[in-house]
Amino acid sequence: MKKKLLALTLTGALAMSLLAGCGSSGDTAATDTTAAEDTTTTEDTAADTTSAEGSVYYLNFKPEQDQQWQDLAAVYTEETGVPVTVVTAASGQYETTLMSEMGKSGAPTLFQVNGPVGLANWKDYCYDLSDSDIYGELTSDTYALKDGDKVAGIGYVIESYGLIVNTDLLEQAGYTTDDIQSFEDLKAVAEDITARSDELGFAAFTSAGMDSSSDWRFKTHLANLPIYFEYQDRGITSTDAIEGTYLDNYRAIWDLYINNSTCDPAELSAKTADDATSEFLNGQAVFYQNGSWEYGNVAGEGKFSDDQLAMIPIYFGVGDEANQGLCTGTENYWCVNNQADEADIQATLDFIYWCVTSEEGTTAMATDMGFVIPFKNAQEPTNLFVKEDQEMTAAGKTPISWNFTTMPSEEWKNGVGQALTAYAADQTDANWDGVVSAFVDGWATEYALANGQ
C-alpha cells in the first residue's frame, strides 16, 4: 500500500510538472492527461479484472498456435462470459516474459513449464491440481508433473518424434519403410543411398544443423535415446550421474546422420531448422529427424500428401528394435498460478477443463492446433505422424519416453551440442571424447550446480 501511495504521488507530481514544464509540445501535453487519468483509476482497474466471475490470463508458449488459442479463447468468452486473455511469448523469450509478468499485478493465471527442471523455478507458484477436475481427465498419471505429492502441472499435449521419411524418394532408391526395422537396416539403406547419390540426385539425411534453431534435435531429442536406454537398464527415472553406457550407439547414429547428409559435416554448425525443412521439401533428402509438430510444415497444399510421408522410429541398435516405437512424451505442462485470486484460479481451472472436455475445445486442439491431448475426451487427430504413433502403440510397440526433461540444465545441453558440432567438423576419437566428457562429466557438474547450493 505504501508503495502504491508513493507511486501515485510520484506520477501525479510528474504529470503536473510536465504540464508546466513541457507545455509547448502538443504531443506531450496530450499524453500527460492520460497519464494522470490512468493513475487515478489504478484502484478501479484492479478491481475490474478481479470481478466476481474471475478471469483467465494464459501465457502461451507456442507461437505457431497463437491464433488458434486466441480463437478458442474468444469462443469460450462468448459462451460463458468469462474473459480469457491469451498472450504468446516470443520464441526463446518465454522465461523472460514469464518472470516479468509474474512480478506484475494481473499476473498470468495459467502458464507452462517444460518438465522437472523448469518446475524447479516455478514450483512455489504452482497451484496443487490434485483435486482438480482436469487431473481426473488425464488418461495416464505419467502426464502429471509432480512435486512430491503435489500435482504441479498437467501435460496438455503429447508429441512424438522420429525419422520423417519421404516415401517416394525411398522407393526411388529401391526400398520401403518395411525394409527398415533396425539400426543396421537404417545404416545399410542410408549408406547405399549415399553411394548412389549422384545417380539418385538426393541424399539420405537432411542437414543435421547445429544452429540454435535446430541443434535441439540432436543435443536434446537424439540424446534422449542413450539416456532412455540407460534409465531402462538401471530401472531409474532420473539420476545425478549418468554413466553413458550407450554413447557408442549415439556416436554411430550421429556418424550416420552427418556423413550421409546433404552437406559437408563441417558446415553443419551454421545450418538452421529452415535449411533442413527446405531440403526435405525440395526432395533433396529421404530422412528428416523431427517431430509431429513439423507435420503442418511438410504436409499440405504445395507440399507433400499423407501417402508420401511416414515417420519411423529412430533405431539405435539397442534392445528389442523390432518393437521400438516413436519417441513420445510431453514437455508442455500447464500450471495454474497459486498467487492469483481465488476467483481467477477457479476461472482458469474451468477454462482448461472446458478445453479438454468440450466439443469445441477438443476439436480446436485436435484439428486447428494439431495436438494430441492426453485426456479421455480427446478427438481423433488429423496429424499423420500422431496417427502413426497411435498405430504403432496399438500394434504392441513400446514408445520411448521423453527423458530429456531430466537433463540437468540448458548448460549441459549446450555443452553436448558444442561437442557434437566440434566432432562433426573433425571426426576424431579425441573429439568424440569431448562429447563423452560433456555428456558424463558435464552431467555430474551441472546436476550438482542445479541442485546443490
Binding site: A13, L14, A20, W122, A270, S409, E411, G415, Q418, Q453
Partner: protein, 283 residues
C-alpha cells in the same frame, strides 16, 4: 545569469529528474537490493546477504567473459573511431555525392541489433566456408573479429555524424590562419582539427566504450557465446545466468554479477572521461 536559471530549476530539471527517478533510480536501487537476495520474481525476494557475490568468483565463465569483453572493447573502440573520423574528414571535403555517402554509411544504424546479428552470421559463415575455416560456432577467433566487424559496421556511421558535426564547428578562420602559416594538411589535422573536435572525440569514445561493454543483442545473435562461452560478452553472461539456469539461487547471482559489472564499467569510463576531457580546449 546563473541565479536566474536556478530560480527556474523546477521547470528545467524536474520533469527529466522525475522520469529518471521512475525509469532508472528506483529500479536501480531495487536491483541493487536484489543482488543480496534469492528470488524467482521480484515479488518474492528473500534477503541472503553477500553470498551471491562470493559465488561470482568461483564462476569461471564470468572471468572469461570479462576478459573477452575488455579485449573486444579495446579493439572496437580504436577501429570504430579511427574509421569514423577518417570518413568524417573525407565527407567534409565537398566531394560529389557527400549526402548519399553520409546516408549510406548511416543506414546500418537503422536496423535493430538482433536482426543485424543474424545477417552477419550468415555472411561471416559464408565467407568462412569459402576459405575453408571452421565456422563461427567453433571458431572463437572468427567470432571475436566478426563481432568487431559487426559493431564497426553498425556504429561507424553514427560516430561519423558526430565527428562531422564537430568538424563543421571548426572555424574557417582558424583553418585559413593555419594555411597562411604554411601548415601542411597533416599538420592542420593534428594541430588544429583534432584538438578542436576533442569534445566530439570524448563523446564518441565514451559512446563506443559503453556500447562495447553493454553489447548484448548483437553478440547473442551472432555467436551466442559459442564456442564454450569463449565469445561471451559480460551482458550475455549475465543474461545466461538469469535464464539458462533453473532455480532461485541463480537469479540473485545474475543480479550480483550485474552490480559488479556496473562498478567495473563506471571505473573504466570515469578514467576515460578524465583522460579525454583534459585534452579539450576551452573555447
Amino acid at each position: 545569469m546563473e541565479k536566474a536559471i536556478k530560480r527556474y530549476s523546477p521547470i528545467f530539471v524536474l520533469p527529466t529528474l522525475l522520469a529518471f527517478t521512475i525509469g532508472f533510480i528506483i529500479p536501480f536501487l531495487e536491483g541493487l537490493y536484489l543482488a543480496f537476495c534469492q528470488f524467482t520474481t521480484v515479488r518474492d525476494a528473500a534477503f541472503i546477504g553477500v553470498g551471491n557475490f562470493k559465488r561470482i568468483f568461483s564462476d569461471t565463465t564470468f572471468l572469461q567473459s570479462f576478459k573477452f569483453t575488455v579485449l573486444f572493447a579495446l579493439a572496437s573502440i580504436i577501429i570504430i573511431n579511427v574509421i569514423a573520423f577518417g570518413l568524417a574528414l573525407l565527407l567534409t571535403r565537398n566531394l560529389k555525392g557527400t549526402n548519399i555517402f553520409r546516408t549510406v554509411f548511416f543506414m546500418p544504424n537503422l536496423i535493430g541489433g538482433i536482426v543485424l546479428g543474424y545477417i552477419w552470421q550468415i555472411l561471416i559463415n559464408c565467407v568462412l566456408s569459402l576459405v575453408g575455416e571452421p565456422l563461427l560456432a567453433l571458431n572463437s577467433t572468427a567470432g571475436y573479429w566478426g563481432l568487431i566487424a559487426l559493431v564497426s559496421w553498425q556504429q561507424i556511421g553514427y560516430m561519423m555524424i558526430i565527428y562531422i558535426a564537430g568538424l563543421q564547428n571548426v572555424s574557417e578562420d582558424l583553418l585559413e590562419a593555419a594555411q597562411i602559416d604554411g601548415a601542411s594538411a597533416w599538420k592542420t589535422l593534428w594541430r588544429v582539427k583534432l584538438p578542436m573536435v576533442m569534445p566530439s572525440i570524448t563523446i564518441c569514445v565514451f559512446l563506443t566504450l559503453t556500447n562495447s561493454f553493454k553489447l548484448f543483442d548483437q553478440s547473442l545473435a551472432l555467436t551466442g557465446g559459442d564456442p564454450n562461452h569463449l565469445t561471451e560478452t559480460l551482458a550475455l553472461n549475465i543474461y545466461y545466468t538469469f535464464y539458462s539456469r533453473a532455480g532461485a539461487q541463480w537469479k540473485g547471482l545474475g543480479q550480483a554479477k550485474a552490480v559488479l559489472f556496473c562498478v567495473l564499467v563506471i571505473v573504466i569510463s570515469l578514467l576515460q572521461l578524465k583522460a579525454t576531457r583534459s585534452k579539450e580546449v576551452q573555447q
